[in-house]
């Protein structure tokens, strides 16, 4: 059940990714419509984060390519915003909330130029959108998990992009914050932005997403929520890995080199 669209905001073409000798994504081929709130669902180790990182160019795929706004990544980088997983950074780093959010403006600033008044204002506005204005000068080490997550989302907003890629923005977030953030993301989608979110909770996915991608090492489904959120597809996604695929993965790992790498 894979729905392809014309004039996609994002096109992933036959993407295969492996870490060293460990294939984690097999031939993912999908295209996504603009102005939608899109969820990536799948069990642990299904390759959800890997897909986002490959789209962002942080991992080099073994084969396949990604096109965003019908162009290669470097040409459209300033229109894409990325929220890494919260645990990927050291929150004891000496920085204030505002310091981190201002990093969102670095991309447009480029090298060497220091953030000025305009960038500070952009950061403040982004903080207001996530309801973190009172915390602007707080040290990031003093934040709760949910607050850290909101700081990361504010940083992404400060990038003022058209496509947002978010890796588990709801991990460690309480219900009230989750609903507030989803509301914000829906507003962004309504304003024509495309938002791609790695998510693990099927229940809230049902409520909030317009479009759902289901992954389990391979692409199980990609399409409008009403069409793909079926019991059969969910069972395919969450009901364990394909036995044959796992065996092939093991076979590749036993080689002395990576046969997938050209």
């Amino acid at each position: 059940m894979i729905t392809q669209v014309s004039h996609p905001v994002l096109e992933v073409h036959d993407l295969t990714v492996s870490y060293e000798q460990h294939p984690v994504l097999w031939n993912v081929d999908l295209s996504l419509p603009a102005g939608k709130l899109i969820g990536i669902l799948g069990p642990n180790g299904a390759g959800k984060s890997t897909l986002i990182k490959s789209i962002m160019g942080l991992i080099t795929p073994t084969s396949g390519y990604v096109k965003i706004f019908d162009k290669a990544l470097p040409e459209v980088r300033s229109r894409i915003s990325y929220v890494p997983q919260r645990e990927s950074v050291d929150w004891n780093f000496p920085a204030s909330v505002l310091d981190v959010v201002v990093m969102g403006t670095y991309g447009k600033l480029g090298l060497f130029r220091r953030p000025g008044k305009k960038e500070m204002q952009v950061a403040q506005d982004a903080l207001e959108q996530v309801g973190m204005t009172p915390f602007a000068s707080r040290q990031i080490s003093e934040l709760s998990g949910g607050q850290q997550q909101r700081v990361f989302i504010a940083r992404a907003l400060a990038q003022q992009a058209d496509l947002y890629l978010m890796d588990e923005p709801f991990a460690g977030v309480d219900m009230a914050t989750e609903t507030a953030i989803f509301q914000l993301l829906q507003d962004m989608a309504a304003a024509g932005k495309s938002v791609l979110v790695v998510h693990h909770d099927i229940h809230s996915a049902m409520n909030f997403f317009d479009w759902v991608i289901m992954l389990n090492l391979h692409l199980v489904a990609s399409g409008p929520k009403e069409q793909v959120m079926t019991e059969e597809l969910l069972r395919k996604t969450y009901g364990g890995k394909l036995n044959l695929l796992t065996q092939v993965t093991d076979l590749i790992r036993k080689q002395d080199f990576n046969p997938l790498q050209r």
Binding site: P94, A95, M103, Y106, F112
Partner: protein, 430 residues
């Protein structure tokens, strides 16, 4: 004392030069070191500083004398080789980073010592100066050499200031940096070059063995005092400069005394003081606030006992009765009695001890908090009434007026606690 005045009044222009040079060196290395400390790459600095020795010796052998240009170039190249090897080995092997760094450190240093010994046997009269590269001798640096070391330090400081935003991103969130299109690999390369340079400029003054201390210790000490990157950089620079100048002074006063070990001693003292004294994170402030808390706890308990006696219609307790309540805390009880009487919360007269009106109100609050918390645990956390006392014993000293108001509201201003005892309130509140 004469030496002290002579040194610190800078009558001797050569001392002025050395102090100026060592100041730049201190700031430069602390600056680079702060970033590598935050990046959790402290060990790499140590490896590089040991790894410059073979290149340094080769530079000397090629020049045939202590020409700083040859020595700096040689040292830089061998430091660069070590840095490259460690990242290359990490990429192609499954060895852990610390074992790679430890091996590189000892292999390079071992080779360096072999070279040094060979040079010493060669009979070159210039060789005496080479020994100072092991532990450093700041006072022995010639003015022309100082120009080179000072210039390099200044370059490091300038480049780091220019790249402040980029290095901050590289350390905090390199993935994000890469995602927004910053050449993080290139930035890391520049940073590594600066790090090697920071080691190289210090080898003459501090020595290869101890240079890592000047990179990392200032940042580690400064981290106790601040949570801001800008303050951290300034403090680290300050600590480093103070220690470096003091170390140089010792080398000046005591002939043949190497500078490096003394710099390390001063730096470690600063780090130790920071560890002990820094507010909030320091050992002593934490100990004292704990002590203050325990004292307050004892006072609260005494007030509570008097209040409960009052509830049982006994306004006055004799001193003997009070002491009998806490047989294991005799000293604390005497202290509490003294302080509370002085604060006007207790009144002592020949019959014994009673609460003053203000004391009654304060004691009532403690008892109220205790019983409110018990009720909260019972109603909201479903903890049995006979299991709630312990936690309430702790919370009664901690809960703020805001939390008290919230508790009252959530529990809807209850009259009784889980043990069916009245929750006491002021007449006008009740």
């Amino acid at each position: 004392m004469e030496d002290f005045l002579y040194f610190f009044t800078f009558q001797d222009p050569s001392i002025t030069w050395v102090v100026l040079g060592i100041t730049l060196l201190g700031i430069g290395s602390a600056y680079v070191g702060t970033f590598s400390f935050l990046d959790k790459k402290a060990l790499l600095g140590d490896a590089i500083s040991h790894a410059v020795l073979p290149g340094l010796c080769l530079g000397f052998a090629l020049a045939g004398e202590k020409d700083p240009r040859y020595i700096v170039t040689g040292a830089f190249l061998s430091g660069a080789l070590a840095t490259f090897l460690s990242s290359w080995l990490k990429k192609i092997t499954k060895l852990s980073e610390d074992s790679i760094i430890a091996s590189i450190l000892s292999i390079f240093f071992g080779i360096g010592i072999v070279f040094l010994t060979v040079l010493q046997k060669s009979g070159n009269p210039e060789i005496a100066g080479l020994n100072s590269f092991i532990f450093g001798n700041a006072i022995g640096i010639a003015e022309t050499d100082l120009l080179l070391y000072g210039g390099l330090s200044l370059t490091i400081i300038l480049v780091l200031s220019l790249f402040l935003k980029e290095f901050r991103l590289m350390v905090f969130d390199p993935n994000f940096g890469q995602a927004i299109g910053f050449p993080i690999q290139g930035i890391r390369f520049i940073f590594n070059v600066l790090m090697i340079l920071a080691v190289v400029i210090g080898i003459q003054a501090i020595g290869v063995v101890l240079m890592a201390a000047l990179l990392i210790t200032p940042a580690a000490a400064a981290r106790f005092w601040t949570n801001r990157l800008s303050t951290l950089l300034i403090l680290a620079g300050l600590f480093s400069v103070i220690s470096a100048i003091l170390g140089t002074y010792i080398s000046f006063v005591i002939p043949q005394m190497p500078t490096g070990p003394w710099v390390v001693i001063f730096l470690s003292s600063i780090a130790l003081l920071s560890f002990l004294l820094a507010p909030k994170s320091g050992l002593l402030p934490r100990l004292f606030s704990r002590k203050r808390y325990v004292k307050q706890m004892h006072r609260d308990h005494l007030m509570k006992a008097l209040f409960k006696a009052k509830e049982a219609k006994r306004e006055v307790l004799s001193l003997e009765e009070i002491r009998a309540l806490y047989p294991f805390h005799k000293k604390e009880i005497e202290h509490s009695l003294q302080v509370l009487t002085k604060q006007g919360l207790l009144i002592q007269d020949p019959q014994g001890v009673r609460l003053s009106p203000q004391g009654t109100s304060d004691a009532m609050r403690i008892v109220r908090l205790h019983r409110l918390w018990e009720l909260y645990l019972n109603e909201f956390l479903h903890i049995a009434p006979d299991h709630v006392h312990e936690s309430a014993e702790q919370m009664e000293h901690l809960l703020t007026p805001e939390l008290e108001a919230l508790l009252e509201q959530r529990l809807n201003y209850p009259a009784l606690d889980p043990h069916q005892v009245t929750i006491p309130r002021e007449a006008h509140d009740a």
